[in-house]
């Protein structure tokens, strides 16, 4: 099994850390993983994206032309990466601030209103975990248990009180998926 994923959005939306959590979850399942961000000034405020590859075998290029899954969290990213989803692949987008919705019919498109949900939950920090929940609902490439195990390993002890909130957001995100 190999999943080639792009996650893209605004800097500050937790794009890179969502990719990191996904990669770490893959590691928990003994997969080969790569995580390659767009780095530099782009990290601060502009658009940010990260390529994550999870595979049972050795991974060749960390840089890709096309993706099995694109998770896009703003209009720019949707415009940029919709054409790069492989036929038969998956595109997940957050509807917040989107004025041109995806049009391709040879891929499966899912809408997730995660940003709206964070307003309801009054917790904008939960955003990327909601999106990750939606992604794992659509493509269960790693288990929720692995995500939580990975989080526990990477979060410093003093932040372990945040684990229940993350789990809740993850499960909530799974319910938010609209096709």
């Amino acid at each position: 099994m190999k999943d080639e994923i792009i996650i893209a959005g605004f800097g500050g939306q937790g794009v890179l850390s969502m990719g990191k959590i996904l990669a770490y979850s893959g590691l928990m399942e003994n997969k080969e993983v790569t995580w390659l961000p767009s780095y530099g000034p782009e990290q601060r405020g502009g658009t940010a994206n990260v390529t994550v590859i999870l595979s049972d075998e050795r991974i060749s290029s960390p840089i890709l032309d096309s993706y099995d899954v694109a998770v896009v969290l703003n209009q720019q990213s949707l415009d940029k990466f919709e054409p790069k989803v492989k036929p038969g692949g998956v595109l997940i987008y957050d509807s917040y601030g989107i004025n041109r919705i995806p049009t391709r019919t040879d891929i499966t498109v899912y809408r997730v209103d995660a940003m709206d949900a964070t307003f309801e939950m009054q917790n904008t920090k939960a955003f990327n975990m909601l999106v990750l929940g939606a992604l794992l609902k659509v493509r269960p490439m790693v288990t929720v248990e692995s995500v939580l195990k990975g989080l526990k390993k990477t979060l410093p002890e003093r932040h372990h009180n945040l684990l229940p909130m993350n789990e809740e957001a993850l499960r909530r995100g799974m319910e938010l998926v609209n096709s």
């Binding site: 990191k20 080969e32 993983v33 060749s60 290029s61 890709l64």
Partner: protein, 358 residues
């Protein structure tokens, strides 16, 4: 610390590998895209555990001269930088090579020339393999293409540096430095005691207890004597060329077209090779791991049956010169590269490869 599986950036892996090697010192100056090396070391505080010295120097110039001194007293010391910073260090690198000191250097290349960009590049190939500083010298140049190799080449680099009393350099790029992958960190080795350093490096300046004084210098005003020193260096380089060539060959036995690439570009070319084979084009990949000594014989062997060679680099064409020399113009050698920090996609490299088919 025991061996451990972690997910981390290439730059972070370098720092952890240094500590676990039992390194004595790191001296560096921040520059994107390799600042995580110093940041990680400062966060890990190895001076509290292994006694490793970590110092943010006032410049790359100061840092390389600290490395010169550290290696001069027989310690396992390192500096890392990115392209513009490496240019600043070249005088010191020449001194280290001339004084035959076992230092480890790391260049996480970015786009140049000049201040350039902070995006990945491989355009310091000439600087690294053809000199860089003044005089006839060579660095043992290792080109990692994965985070695991970033980790492993720290130990390999130092081992080779001490074996030959010659500086070794890890020539990485922004991709390998910034990318996170699974990495198996080795178990912690203890730092050598001062007695062990004295025994392993009887030439080192540690204070002249029970021996004649040692002097670390590269100065010799008498030309015939300086020639003799040069001849000694050249003999050592011959020995390294004979013993230390490293490369990885994938599908080279039956390939019609051979890709030659190092570091992150080799990863992209591996994908290109997979795509090409799916389309019925028999492609192979030869990845030099040591850029100096260069795997010329292996490339010549792999090229025997090939109809063409495509050298893929993040430069305007530097390693291609060594590939051409290796195959002695017996087969067509073309170059594909992107410049200034732009990284090619596998598809465009595949197109370039297909363009070679007659």
């Amino acid at each position: 610390m025991e061996s451990e599986i972690r997910l981390m950036k290439g730059n972070e892996a370098l720092a952890h590998a240094m500590i676990r090697y039992g390194a004595d010192g790191y001296f560096g100056y921040p520059i994107t895209p390799q600042s995580e090396v110093l940041e990680t070391l400062e966060a890990e505080m190895p001076w509290e555990t292994t006694g490793m010295v970590v110092l943010q120097a006032e410049s790359e110039v100061a840092a390389i001269n600290m490395v010169y001194a550290g290696a001069g007293c027989g310690k396992a010391v390192c500096t890392s930088s990115s392209s513009p910073g490496m240019s600043l260090m070249q005088e010191g690198v020449s001194y280290i090579a001339a004084a035959e000191l076992p230092a480890l250097l790391i260049n996480c290349m970015r786009g140049g020339p000049g201040l350039g960009t902070i995006q990945p590049s491989q355009a310091d190939y000439f600087q690294t393999t053809k000199g860089g500083g003044h005089g006839d010298y060579h660095l043992i140049a290792l080109a990692p293409s994965s985070v695991q190799e970033m980790c492993d080449f720290v130990a390999l680099g130092w081992d080779l540096a001490f074996k030959y009393r010659n500086p070794a350099i890890i020539l990485a790029d922004g991709i390998v430095g910034q990318m996170m992958e699974k990495v198996v960190l080795p178990e912690q080795r203890s730092r050598r005691t001062q007695e062990e350093v004295r025994k392993q490096c009887p030439w080192a300046v540690t204070g002249k207890k029970n021996r004649k004084r040692n002097v670390i210098t590269s100065l010799e005003l008498e030309a015939p004597a300086m020639e003799k020193i040069n001849n000694h260096l050249q003999a050592k380089y011959k020995e390294i060329e004979a013993n230390e060539v490293r490369y990885e060959a994938l599908n080279t036995e039956d390939c019609d077209y051979l890709l030659v690439a190092f570091g992150s570009m080799a990863r992209i070319c591996e994908k290109v090779m997979e795509l090409a084979r799916k389309q019925g084009l028999k492609a192979g990949l030869l990845r030099p791991i040591t850029l100096w000594p260069f795997p010329a014989a292996a490339i010549a062997e792999a090229a025997k049956k090939a109809k063409g060679i495509l050298v893929v680099e993040l430069s305007a064409g530097q390693m291609i010169e060594d590939v051409k020399l290796a195959v002695n113009c017996n087969v067509e050698v073309r170059h594909y590269g992107r410049l200034g920090g732009v990284v090619p996609n596998p598809d465009e490299v595949l197109d370039a490869l297909k363009g070679m088919i007659k």
